[in-house]
């Protein structure tokens, strides 16, 4: 069900032309992508193709872009609770794929939105402070996201040769 749906969606949107200077491997991305988790997704593929993992990852791209838009709107409306919930939502899926940096940023958004500090342990009573921190964190999250997105699009690249697992 879901995988085919996402694959279709992904095909509607051609890969962005952000070409990296040199081809990178999964190992190069160790800071941004948790190898074990991402490999688990790759292992779910049938032999010799990446239909499932690609579907999942591209589905995540849709979800992420959508969520960032919603975050910016909620930020304008100063909807802290909504921001926390959006952070939590994207945290779940980015964690599932192993995008650690995005996940960490989202978790911070979740905590700030809930009126806490970045660890979620201490209260932050000032909404303005929270909103300010969220604004910055969304920037970070988007930057981190763009980075892994570029890599992953290249990794699953429609034109590129099917990259064997490193």
């Amino acid at each position: 069900m879901a995988p085919t749906e996402t694959t279709t969606k992904a095909k509607e949107e051609p890969p962005k032309p952000t070409k990296p200077t040199k081809p990178r491997t999964l190992a190069d991305m160790a800071d941004s992508i948790d190898q074990e988790t991402f490999n688990q997704i790759l292992e779910m593929d049938e032999e010799g193709e990446h239909d499932f993992s690609k579907g999942i990852v591209y589905g995540f791209f849709d979800q992420a872009e959508n969520t960032f838009e919603k975050m910016e709107k909620a930020l304008d409306d100063k909807q802290l609770k909504e921001l926390s919930s959006l952070g939590h939502f994207l945290k779940g899926s980015s964690a599932t794929i192993g995008l650690t940096k995005v996940k960490d940023a989202c978790e911070k958004i979740q905590h700030y939105g809930a009126g806490k500090d970045e660890t979620g342990n201490t209260d932050e009573p000032d909404e303005k402070v929270s909103l300010g921190k969220i604004k910055k964190t969304i920037e970070t999250a988007k930057k981190d996201y763009k980075e892994v997105e570029a890599f992953l699009r290249e990794y699953f690249g429609d034109d590129a040769e099917p990259t064997s697992s490193s």
Partner: protein, 673 residues
């Protein structure tokens, strides 16, 4: 009879006197003057007179009516040449027997109750006539039985029995002819079956059977069995005239008359009341047994609380610098108290076990560990010179799925007993594991405790595992206990699908107690304490075992995030699950569960979801009384989150991202066999 004898003697004498001159052979010759010879010719009693050569010399006219043969055709015929029925006699051997006896003894012989062609019962009287020592005649008379004798004999019982049968009201006693038609009816039958005599006599006895039984020819078969076996007893539903039924005990016996089958006697008892009484007795017994168990449980529980208080106080008191005499007393109090507590705990366990409310907690079990712990525990009680050892098969699986606490309880009890009753020699514990041939991945663990103690006397073997029985002489202070230990072991072993047993120690003195327990998962991994970065090869076994059971489990996955939902779905498929339903929020999950409440054996539940979150959904599911494992899948890894989820009804918690091995071991923990 005597008179008859005299008369015949007279007549014969006369005949004898006249015989040379008299034309006795000429039956048509008119008799001119009444002579004694006329007596045999005209007697109303059918009579044949034989001479010494067994030839017929006179036949009474009345005989014709009985035999259907003319006097002429019978005269001068040897008795051997006519049919026994025409005499009448039951058969040739009987007739010869009677004739020989008459000749040799000179006494009158009577052959009783012969049924000739006219169906009227007769006795045949054979009277020998001797002149001095020479036999001259034999007189054969067919004496008809009296009307009363006929009818009573026909009913096959005498008056006393008839009255008895007629007045019995608790039993239906009646007779059937050879075809099964009813010929007699007593008052018991009338009361029991609701038919009166006039209406039922002549009907076939199958009217008492259900239509199904009649279709199956049960009545006919009953008679056939009865003829073959000599009797037939049966219990079943029988029907009254008004159509109501009763639970009946039926006894049918065939009746024979002179070796001839003439019918059946049927006795029917109504067992409905007895059956009901039995049911009431059983119910009353169960109720009283339940009350006893409840009482035991309550009282034991109430005793335990103050006991604990006393124990703590005693321990504190012992530390207050007591004199040595005081210390000794304190020790006695402490020892007695721990014994008492043990007894109360035993009674509690026993009452829980006997009420069926005892449940096992499946966990990872290391048998070797448990055996070691039990041995350590029992060692201080070991008598000097007794050797306590344990052996375990080298291929014994390191980890099994079972209830470690209860396994330990049985072992503790058996080893404790062995140590208690062994003054010298050894106590040996040995454990083996046999893979189960029926169910893959299961095995039977057999643990034996052999000792060289006092053993078990033969007369106690049968009651060894019976509650509250003790063979050890209770007056010996040396051995104390409730007599519940072994019975608890038995119940616990049975709860683990095992058994307990006893055998005398084959090495002579002492006993061997053993128990078996069925355990799951011959090799499973312990739940990972910390996540490892690479999957270990040990996981392969668990993965295979999970694959064996997963297709039989119906799983509900509740997750709102499409990416996570898809990945979880794929992950579950890769583990081997095939029956997975998906829900996208708590409300949807709840409505799916409400539709088929007992269908799902496992729920994987995201915590934060729109519409209804996972915790609320879990609360509702638990409120419905459903106890399937609900495993939280959460991105919140804060300390205390997992605890709070479990407090709210979830069974376990997995953090995101979900890793296959971690998921496997958590799933195995909850749904592994």
């Amino acid at each position: 009879m005597f008179l008859d004898g005299r008369l015949s003697a007279l007549s014969l004498e006369e005949k004898h006197a006249r015989s040379p001159k008299s034309p006795l052979g000429d039956g048509d010759a008119p008799v001119k003057s009444p002579s004694l010879a006329c007596i045999y010719r005209y007697t109303p009693t059918p009579t044949i007179v034989l001479d010494a050569s067994m030839t017929i010399v006179e036949v009474s006219d009345s005989h014709h009516a009985l035999s259907g043969r003319t006097r002429q055709s019978l005269l001068h015929t040897a008795i051997t040449d006519i049919l026994p029925a025409e005499i009448p006699a039951p058969n040739i051997p009987t007739l010869y027997g009677a004739l020989c006896a008459a000749c040799s003894t000179g006494e009158v012989q009577v052959v009783e109750r012969i049924l000739p062609a006219n169906k009227i019962l007769h006795n045949l009287r054979v009277t020998p006539i001797f002149d001095g020592s020479a036999l001259i005649y034999l007189v054969l008379e067919a004496l008809k039985l009296s009307e009363e004798a006929q009818s009573v004999k026909h009913a096959y019982m005498n008056e006393t029995y008839k009255i008895l049968v007629d007045t019995v009201k608790d039993y239906a006693i009646f007779m059937l002819d050879t075809h099964g038609n009813i010929t007699t009816w007593n008052s018991g039958a009338a009361i029991l079956k609701g038919w009166n005599t006039e209406d039922i006599v002549g009907k076939h006895f199958s009217v008492f059977y259900s239509p199904e039984d009649r279709m199956a020819a049960k009545p006919t078969r009953a008679l056939a069995v009865c003829l073959r076996e000599g009797r037939m007893e049966d219990e079943g539903w029988r029907y009254r005239r008004d159509g109501s039924r009763f639970w009946a005990n039926v006894l049918i016996t065939p009746i024979y008359q002179f070796n001839q089958h003439v019918g059946f006697v049927k006795v029917t008892r109504d067992l409905t009341e007895r059956k009901e009484a039995e049911a009431r007795m059983t119910a009353a017994f169960e109720e009283s047994s339940r009350l006893k168990t409840d009482f035991l449980a309550n009282i034991s529980h109430e005793i335990r609380t103050p006991m604990n208080g006393m124990q703590i106080a005693m321990t504190m008191l012992a530390d207050t610098g007591l004199s040595s005499a005081q210390k000794e007393h304190a020790t006695i109090i402490q020892d007695s108290m721990s014994l008492l507590l043990q007894i109360v705990n035993d009674v509690l366990d026993y009452s829980k076990l006997s009420s069926g409310s005892f449940s096992l907690h499946s966990d990872v079990l290391d048998v070797n560990d448990v055996v070691g712990a039990v041995l350590r525990n029992c060692r201080p009680l070991l008598k000097h010179g007794v050797d306590l050892t344990a052996t375990i098969a080298p291929d014994f699986p390191k980890r099994l799925r079972g209830d470690p606490l209860r396994y330990r309880q049985i072992l503790q009890n058996l080893v404790g007993n062995a140590v208690k009753f062994t003054e010298n020699g050894y106590v040996r514990v040995s454990t083996t594991c046999t893979p189960d041939s029926d169910e893959k991945g299961c095995c039977t663990v057999r643990t034996e405790v052999a000792d060289t103690g006092i053993g078990v006397p033969d007369n106690a073997i049968n009651t060894l595992f019976t509650p509250f029985t003790r063979f050890a002489n209770s007056t010996l202070r040396q051995y104390q206990g409730t007599g519940l230990g072994l019975s608890i072991c038995k119940s616990l072993a049975e709860l683990m699908n095992g058994t307990v047993g006893y055998a005398p120690n084959p090495e002579g003195r002492g006993s061997v107690f053993w128990f078996t327990a069925r355990m799951g998962g011959r090799s499973i991994v312990a739940p990972p304490k910390a996540r490892t970065s690479t999957s270990t090869p040990v996981d392969r076994n668990l993965s295979m075992e999970m694959r064996a059971i997963a297709p039989h489990k119906h799983v509900l996955l509740v997750e709102d995030n499409m990416v996570n939902h898809t990945v979880m779905l794929k992950l579950l498929h890769s583990i081997g699950f095939t029956r997975i339903d998906g829900a996208w929020n708590g409300a949807e999950a709840l409505s799916m569960i409400k539709k088929k409440p007992l269908s799902y054996e496992l729920v994987l539940m995201d915590v934060s979801m729109p519409v209804m979150d996972g915790l609320a959904a879990t609360g509702h599911i638990r409120d419905m009384g459903l106890q399937m494992p609900i495993i939280a899948i959460t991105g919140n890894a804060l300390q205390g989150d997992a605890e709070s989820y479990i407090a709210k009804g979830m069974s376990d918690c997995i953090g995101k991202p979900v890793h296959r091995d971690q998921l496997l071991s958590v799933l195995w923990k909850w749904i592994g066999t």
